[in-house]
């Protein structure tokens, strides 16, 4: 463009590169100059057009380059993010599964804890019953403890303890609660529910535990044999339960089992002890008489 500068018009005068001074131009020359100017303008317009086109091209190029570059980067990042997302999803799934497993385990532990808690309570009751039964060698005291266990740990309201007389083969009430001893008739071995329990050594549990007001002393709801090995020395007969007690629990059955064995040994030992004490005092009396 600068090459054309020499032929430019200045102040309405036309200067030529070859000419010196300001000689007047002829009409042809002026026409030539105008023609050249027109051509130059055309060229300028073309150049302008070309440059505009080039600019648009460059812009497009730039845009596509930027776009391509941007797309390339996003693609990588996206892929990385997708991978990360997948691994996080997997991790989340694993954590959820683990959480569920832990939750299940927790539930199991809670249930187990409750079971152990119950077991612990049952063992405490059994321990105390056993401890109390063997805490004395006094026959009356043993009977009182048996009554206490049956009232407080089992929840019986009317019941009796019957001992077997080995000479007469008869069961006689030696202690009772909620019913007079005299109201419990003697029962022969093998007779009725109570007699059969004493004969067979097998516990009896009536299905219907409901209380019907008056009781039949020969028709108990529970009858437990007091046994030493296989020898029955008496029975515990329950006629009714406390108002708030309507069924037996597992602990009750365990207590019945404990009562069957431990009451028998406690009663037997206390009886033996009483007898030996009595014999000892008799012998001591004789010795005193002989030595005086």
């Amino acid at each position: 463009m600068s090459g054309h500068g020499k032929d430019e018009t200045e102040g309405g005068q036309i200067h030529s590169g070859e000419e010196k001074g300001p000689p007047l131009k002829s009409g042809d020359e002026v026409l030539q100059i105008i023609k050249k100017g027109a051509e130059f303008t055309q060229e300028l317009l073309k150049e302008n057009e070309r440059l505009r086109y080039r600019l648009v091209q460059a812009e497009e190029e730039n845009f596509s380059l930027r776009k391509a570059s941007l797309e390339g980067v996003s693609g990588d990042e996206l892929s990385k993010l997708q991978n990360r997302l997948e691994s996080l999803e997997t991790e989340k799934k694993q954590i959820l599964e683990r959480f569920k497993r832990v939750e299940d385990e927790n539930k199991d532990f809670a249930n187990r804890y409750l079971e152990i808690e119950n077991e612990n309570n049952n063992l405490a009751n059994l321990y105390i019953a056993s401890y109390q039964l063997h805490s004395t060698l006094d026959f009356k005291e043993v009977l009182r403890i048996i009554l206490e266990i049956i009232i407080n740990l089992i929840g019986a309201e009317q019941f009796a303890v019957m001992m077997l007389d080995e000479k007469t083969h008869q069961l006689n009430a030696v202690a009772s609660e909620g019913i007079e001893k005299e109201d419990v008739p003697p029962i022969f071995l093998g007779t009725g529910v109570i007699g059969n329990v004493a004969k067979t050594g097998e516990s009896y549990f009536k299905e219907d535990l409901s209380h019907k007001g008056t009781i039949d002393p020969t028709d108990p709801i529970v009858c437990i044999p007091m046994t030493i090995k296989e020898r029955v020395i008496g029975v515990i007969v329950i006629y009714s339960l406390l108002q708030q007690k309507d069924k037996f629990t597992n602990l009750d059955y365990e207590l019945f089992t404990l009562l069957a064995g431990h009451t028998a040994t406690a009663v037997f030992s206390s009886k033996l002890y009483s007898e030996s004490e009595r014999k000892l005092s008799t012998i001591q009396g004789f010795i005193d008489l002989l030595t005086k």
């Binding site: 105390i128 401890y131 407080n152 108002q243």
Partner: protein, 124 residues
């Protein structure tokens, strides 16, 4: 010194042992035993208690009388009292509660309910 002092008033040694054995599972407690209401009152006048468990049917002085005396004593009226009895009727429950008992447990007692009552009243 224990954080909580518990008085167990019960004439039956078996029940007393069972209640004591169960309550000993609570943390930081001292348990004092009494065999009847009079014995219980003696123990109350000799020391401070945070809760009292008492049977109703006892010789010499029953549990209801003990509740009445404790709740009418300005020095001890705020001690929570839990009544333990074989009587499960609503009438007996109301009688004990009317005298000022804070809670009521029926025999045969369950260790869980005994512990729950104690923790609730002691605010453990």
């Amino acid at each position: 010194m224990a954080r909580f002092r518990i008085l167990v008033v019960e004439d039956s040694p078996t029940m007393r042992q069972l209640i004591t054995f169960t309550l000993k599972r609570l943390k930081d407690v001292e348990i004092v035993e009494a065999s009847d209401g009079v014995d219980g009152l003696k123990k109350i006048s000799a020391g401070k208690f945070d809760i009292i468990f008492t049977d109703i049917n006892m010789p010499i002085m029953d549990g209801l009388k003990l509740v009445s005396l404790v709740k009418n004593d300005p020095a001890n009226k705020d001690i929570p009292i839990v009544v333990i009895t074989t009587e499960g009727g609503q009438e007996d429950r109301d009688r004990a509660l009317a005298l000022g008992a804070n809670s009521y447990i029926t025999k045969p007692i369950q260790a869980t309910s005994l512990l729950a009552t104690a923790t609730q009243l002691l605010k453990i």
